[in-house]
Amino acid sequence: MSGGVQASGAYTADEMMTVTAARQLTNGAVCFVGIGLPSAACNLARRTHAPELVLIYESGTVGARPEVLPLSIGDGELADTADCVVSLPEVFTHYLQRGRVDVGFLGAAQIDRYGNLNTTVIGSYSHPTVRLPGSGGAPEIAAHAREVLVIMKQSPRSFVPRLDFLTSCGFLGGSGERDRAGFPGRGPQAVITDLGVLRPDARAGELKLTALYPGVSVEDARGATGWPLAVADDLETLPPPEAGDLRVLRELHARTEAAHATPVRIRLTAPERH
């Protein structure tokens, strides 16, 4: 099994990733959510085992309970279902920097063995081969969230021995460098890929393979990693997604597709209301 969306029996690799990420979330946790797989995972968790999960999107929507998955971080669905809507400076200072976020979700184009992330450039900064979107909220989420969950597909191009650019800090050079720098958050505590889960070694901070999905071998995971991947002694094989989880996730996606296919219509002459 290689990276990408691939049917493996009755579910896809994306679904297995999303369900695995959702399982990491405990009920009542305050999550700073990104768009895409993190948003799907958080909303799956909220609709299954963690109904009191608090979702904060960087658009300032606090306590959002979307019925359909947003395409962008600021879709109206998030504001309409939120407990409150605050400004962006407020969400980053009063909520994140003040230490009110339990879990931050991040993705990246590249990750290294210490969980440092690149979302800025491939190639050099001044003359990039590929210009990526950039920092967004990630560097502060990586610094301040009590823990960080990373979701990304595993391949030698993305799991690299050396980042082209360090955008967001994981365990830096390892062996306690993050702690010595004084970061309030504990850093990446799980990296959920399309093959399994990596977790940091408690002392060195080096990511180690701790779980595999059904039908995936250690060799598959090693082949998709650009550094010599350490494997935990108690490596486990995760069970496939439960039918209930898959049903909730697929309903969420179906509602989302239907909503995004609805054409937008704008009235150019407002009705006389006043």
Binding site: I35, E58, S59, G60, T61, P70, L71, S72, I73, G74, D75, G76, L78, A79, V85, S87, L88, P89, F92, T93, L96, Q97, T120, Y125, P128, T129, V130, R131, L132, P133, G134, S135, G136, G137, P139, E140, A143, L163, F165, L166, T167, C169, L172, R178, A181, G182, F183, H260, A261, T262, P263, V264, R265, I266, R267, L268, T269, A270, R273, H274
Partner: protein, 282 residues
């Protein structure tokens, strides 16, 4: 504070070489104003925005800007801004100098600008490659009370900030409802504030703590229904997610992009005509 046609407002207040912040966070992005900037062939702008959106892809691709200050440059939930990438990777249609921040930094920089401070302070623990790339543009300082090392972010004070909002009343007070991003901070940091709104009303009927920009802070207002499309205006219309997906294909190719801009933006007299061409006008 007179209501102006948008073409007049842009001609008067957005001059070649100006620093211009178009804000709004996914919501209320001032597309109509950006299109008018393109129609009037502004050059040498320093564009400022946390999340350069499709309108920035269009302004950059049409050669309006030679500098961009930003924190995240992508098509949300879709992928790249291809015109932005082409400008940075291959200097097309011209070189684009960039000043890059994080979201939190730009939010803080607007707040400092809006507060009359030279810089904002943020917590900082270790240098990233972005800190190293920026060199002397960013400095750390020591807190005189706690001794902690803090990041000093220089204030952002645009020559002009442009916002889209829901309503203006007869006096020129403007109300913004829903997701706000850093729009208020960007408005108060700027020397001039140009606003487009969905509609003019006698009274705003806004709660006391609502986000209202008082009329004497607003330099010019234009009524432009649908002025945020394909972004959205809460209470008026939804985000046109299908357009954001389509843009990925339109903007990939230089020729197709130029043709689309010619057929839609440049050959439309105003925003209403553009919306009619896009078949979203009801």
């Amino acid at each position: 504070m007179p209501l102006l046609p948008l073409s007049e407002s842009i001609a008067t207040h957005v001059l070649d070489g100006a620093s211009v912040a178009l804000e709004g966070f996914t919501h209320l992005i001032p597309f109509a104003a950006g299109h008018e900037i393109i129609r009037q062939r502004r050059r040498g702008l320093h564009l400022i925005r946390m999340t350069p959106d499709l309108i920035h892809d269009q302004m950059i691709g049409m050669g309006c800007a030679d500098r961009l200050t930003f924190s995240w440059g992508g098509n949300p939930g879709v992928g790249s801004l291809h015109r932005l990438r082409d400008a940075i990777e291959r200097q097309w249609p011209q070189p684009l100098a960039i000043t890059e921040h994080t979201h939190a930094e730009i939010g803080a920089a607007y707040q400092a600008g809006a507060s009359g401070l030279p810089c904002a302070l943020m917590r900082h623990y270790a240098d990233t490659d972005l800190d190293r790339a920026r060199g002397a543009q960013m400095r750390t300082v020591t807190c005189p009370f706690s001794g902690e090392r803090l990041l000093a972010v220089p204030a952002i004070t645009p020559d002009v900030t442009i916002l889209h909002a829901q309503q203006v009343d007869r006096k020129g007070n403007v109300v913004i409802r829903g997701i706000i991003g850093a729009a208020r901070e960007a408005a108060l940091a700027a020397r001039r504030l140009v606003v487009t709104v969905e509609e003019e009303v006698k009274q705003l009927d806004a709660p006391l703590n609502a986000i209202v920009l008082p009329h004497w802070l607003v330099t010019a207002v234009s009524v432009v229904p649908g002025g945020a499309h394909p972004s959205y205006a809460a209470g008026f219309y939804e985000r046109d997610n299908r357009f954001y997906l389509e843009w990925d294909q339109i903007a990939r190719d230089r020729g197709r992009f130029q043709q689309w801009m010619q057929e839609h933006v440049l050959s439309s007299r105003d925003h209403a005509e553009l919306l009619a061409r896009l078949r979203v006008a009801a």
